[in-house]
Symmetry: C2
Subunit: 583 residues, 2 copies
């Protein structure tokens, strides 16, 4: 499956550079692996993808999800608490001869086909020795396998010792801000806190271009809910929708193909452990469809326990099929439980629990020890404190039994008579409970979605390349093309160009070369509509609109142009919108 | 002027925390100076400000400006070439007793009122000694003044020695990508390359909250133009518009107040050294007005040579008056000349010049030396090479003159007769010229604009706080309020709420507390329109809309609601849009 049609990837990278979608950063200095620039069309596409993500996850869930923004740089203690200083590592091995560094588990897999993800360094090293694996570049002997921490490290301010790290995910920002956001949003649960922002991961030797970058944009949210009331209130509306899932249990038995299940069933059968996670997985599937990836080209793979991040109770990766790299992850769905808030409570000393008021106060019966201290003091003197402490620690209902049965209780080797100790029942009024919310987290890497959108949009028609990017995501929406490159037609075209810009369209004006060549350029940039100003325009103020995908054309009055283009971008077919032009 | 009404700032910071606009990052760990989180409403406001900036600078100039995105982390050589490793420094001084670090020039200014920005460390240290300045915290003696580099340092990948830095501006990304972008955009000049992205500056002791952050978002563009054709083609359209400027010459004479000049004149009189810079300064003025800052509360201050960054030939800071910090910079306008491209050419060895084709090839006459080498060799033997080299370096027209006048030319003490040397005129056909474009750069800090927008929006009416954020920038556009918190009115309100969300509005639903209290909450969040569902709604399907600023109300049919709200957000007054409600 992998490496099929690998040249599509090459073609997209070539197109990316030439037409201005993306290219390796720092090219003029020889490049640095794992960094990419987005060019003018790449940024527009990315911005549109981010806008679509926000629409699907935030704006269509305004009652549930809010967005925040927190820094990339954070102090060390945050990442100690989050577990990243200890656990955000990959195994690394150095060639003793050429001094090149390799990710040890990948090296093993590529050299001898042994899956080593998640294995301890010592075990990986043993397999390397056993199998006689050597440096893939120079053939030299490999050294010790050790763990390399993927956090970029820095120093904050002028004091030595004030270590900081660049965040590898935006999530910690949401956990640290949880209390403030929860209060500002008037203490409602569930609540999702989203962030779109830069993260950095100091990959050992990134080689998959836009798929594995050292710095990239994450779009993710932490969805906080009450673990005693975990039901998604909108699961019913999608109960019968289908998703494709490969459960860990199946995977462990060697299964590689997903099963198709109804979302509701996946929850009921325990395949997906919480209903909110299932709901967001379904939205994620729809979101990938928005980008042009059909449902048959995506599924959710559950991670095995040893493959999961340190904070996760259950994880699904949403996979999409690519031509060069096979099935790759576009989003991760982790059930983080109360891991992060608990850790930050522990490390900061701050109470991050929420308080949930009961509808009516709950009366709870509670036992209490009452001591006759005067009597006890006279009996025990200096031993009184020890006995008191011991009594306080005892199970009160057992204590009550014992006293009632024996008439005394034995504590610290002393028989304390019932005159000194009594157990009374008291009523306590509880107005609510305090608890740590649980969290599910859907998390998308943005730049790889730019690549994937381009791969799924890439079409060849004769000798032409067409980027059939979904119309509403296309960087430039309209090309304005005067048939002739001089005179009245150009003036008219410029006027239309300006009006469309003012109306909020992204527009390209192109008057150079034959009209066919200009259509070809527009197709290659994925511009959905080309508006041509011709002789007839000067007579009756109509223009033609050409559809990038079908190459069909219709003629419409200039006065309708804005509305027609808007409808077209929003999905209407061109035939509905104007008078067909005979080709 | 400064410190007047300082409590407004405190009130905004308090409101920021309580209602969810912004707060110090890492609070639960005691905070780290120079980092702020944006909460739900802060992000919405920021996003709207960014969108407005993009509209003003990019979309309204689609024919001129494109956006790109480049990494925050870069390899060392980039920042050596850019000059930041050498020059991006502030003077620092340590208290020898308590070991606290201070920015030395600020310390001097605060302790004894001496302006020391841009002075060399040794001079600052001398003034400290002279004036007997001591640690402002513990009174201890101060140590040596040295330079502290403000770049955050890190390491890229697993190799020691592969130093990286976090960018302090996005600009270098644009210079490095210039050639790619120029080619993808079909080699047109002028061209602006914009970027909105994170930058980091390791400030020594940041203390001005959202105004001076260690990590923040920059919105800037590098505008590349031909220095031989530097005229802005749209200056005429704003020739008579006025801007307020304080030129460096005036400032050097102690003047603190700006003068008002016509934009065109400012260019003609040389106050602003290039016309494109003037044009973008004018757009910047309009942009600040969009944020609610009137033209009387802003002006452009030219930096003195010693205050300018190392790359700049002329710099203006756009200043806005604030209640606590006096006049502060919201944007910088630097004429960077060819500094950056030249440096990157030098350090990378890559030719970053552009080629501009002449309309017609230009025939240039050129002199060439022709030597009779056989004759010369016989005459000079081993000295021939020296003579030849010397001849090549001479000014050819002077050489021609000398030979014609004397019949020989004296080189290296040797008289070379005209038989050996002749100067001939040749025609060379030039199809164009190669040159390094010049650059002007308008650069805005985003988070301080969030603060400034809030400060200019802050109003008090009786005991109420109103955030009169310009309607189109307001985070939440509409509050939907059922008069009663139960029954049919709530159902109706929920339906309206959902419809408005679907129509693309940001909406808040609020049913708790008295209607007056809910209006107050909406005012404090800066929600421009409150829609109330009351008894009459259930009868005739009309609702009231209340204007945040005037507190006036009109009644409109639910069927018109979407359109009315859109018009209202876009600036129409409420009175034009519905039937007035008698208060």
């Amino acid at each position: 499956m992998a490496y099929k049609e690998a040249d599509v990837t090459d073609k997209i990278y070539e197109l990316g550079k030439r037409r201005g979608f993306f290219w390796p950063s720092y090219e003029i200095y020889g490049g640095v692996a794992g960094f990419y620039d987005l060019g003018p069309y790449g940024v527009m596409l990315k911005n549109n993808i981010v806008a679509k993500w926000k629409r699907r996850f935030i704006y269509e869930h305004q009652d549930l999800i809010v967005e925040i923004e927190t820094p990339v740089i954070g102090p060390e203690k945050v990442f100690v608490a989050s577990g990243h200083v200890e656990s955000f590592t990959d195994p690394i091995v150095e060639c003793l001869k050429c001094k090149r560094m390799f990710r040890a588990d990948q090296l093993l897999e590529e050299a001898v086909g042994v899956k080593a993800e998640g294995l301890p360094p010592k075990e990986i090293e043993e397999i390397i020795r056993e199998k006689g694996v050597r440096c893939p570049v120079c053939g030299g002997e490999l050294g010790e396998v050790r763990l390399f921490n993927l956090l970029f490290k820095t120093q904050i301010g002028p004091y030595t010792g004030s270590t900081g790290y660049l965040r590898p995910e935006t999530a910690q920002g949401m956990f640290l801000a949880f209390k403030r956001v929860f209060q500002a949003m008037r203490e409602k649960l569930p609540i999702g806190i989203a962030q779109v922002g830069r993260v950095a991961r100091n990959e050992i030797s990134p080689r998959q271009g836009m798929i594995r970058m050292r710095e990239f944009t994450i779009m993710e949210f932490e969805f906080f809910f009450d673990p005693e009331n975990p039901e998604c209130d909108r699961l019913d509306s999608i109960y019968d929708e289908k998703i494709r899932v490969l459960p860990a249990s199946e995977k462990a038995r060697g299964e590689e193909k997903p099963i198709e299940v109804r979302v509701g069933e996946a929850v009921e059968e325990g395949i997906i452990s919480t209903s909110w996670m299932a709901y967001w997985m379904w939205v994620s599937r729809k979101f990938l469809e928005d980008l042009g990836v059909p449902s048959t080209k995506q599924f959710f793979e559950e991670k095995l326990p040893e493959e999961r991040a340190h904070y996760s109770r259950q994880t699904f990766d949403q996979l999409v099929e690519t031509s060069r790299w096979g099935w790759i992850e576009v989003s991760g769905h982790a059930y983080r439980g109360d891991y992060d808030l608990s850790r930050h409570m522990e490390y900061s000393g701050e109470d991050l629990r929420v308080f949930k008021k009961y509808e009516k106060p709950v009366i709870q019966k509670k036992l209490e020890v009452k001591l006759n201290k005067a009597l006890l003091g006279r009996m025990l003197r200096e031993k009184m404190k020890d006995v008191e402490n011991a009594l306080m620690k005892m199970d009160l209902s057992a204590l009550k039994d014992e006293i009632e049965r024996k008439g005394y209780v034995e504590v610290c080797g002393i028989k304390v008579p019932k005159e000194c100790v009594s157990i009374v029942e008291k009523e306590v009024k509880l107005t609510g409970r305090r608890f740590i919310p649980h969290v599910v987290e859907p998390s998308f890497g943005c730049e790889r979605l730019v690549y994937i959108t381009l791969e799924y949009a890439y079409r060849v028609k004769g000798d032409r390349v067409i980027l059939s990017i979904p119309r509403d995501l296309a960087p430039v929406k309209v090309a304005v093309l005067p048939l002739l490159s001089k005179g009245e037609m150009v003036d008219k075209a410029r006027a239309i160009y300006r009006d469309l810009m003012k109306a909020g369209f992204t527009v390209m004006f192109d008057s150079s070369g034959s009209i066919g060549r200009r259509y070809a350029r527009a197709d290659e940039l994925g511009i959905p509509a080309s508006v041509t100003i011709d002789y007839r325009t000067l007579e009756d103020n109509t223009v033609t609109i050409r559809d990038r995908d079908s190459w069909k054309q219709v003629r419409v009055p200039v006065s309708d142009l804005e509305k027609v283009l808007r409808d077209f971008i929003n999905g209407k077919s061109l035939e509905e919108l104007g008078e067909p032009v005979q080709g």
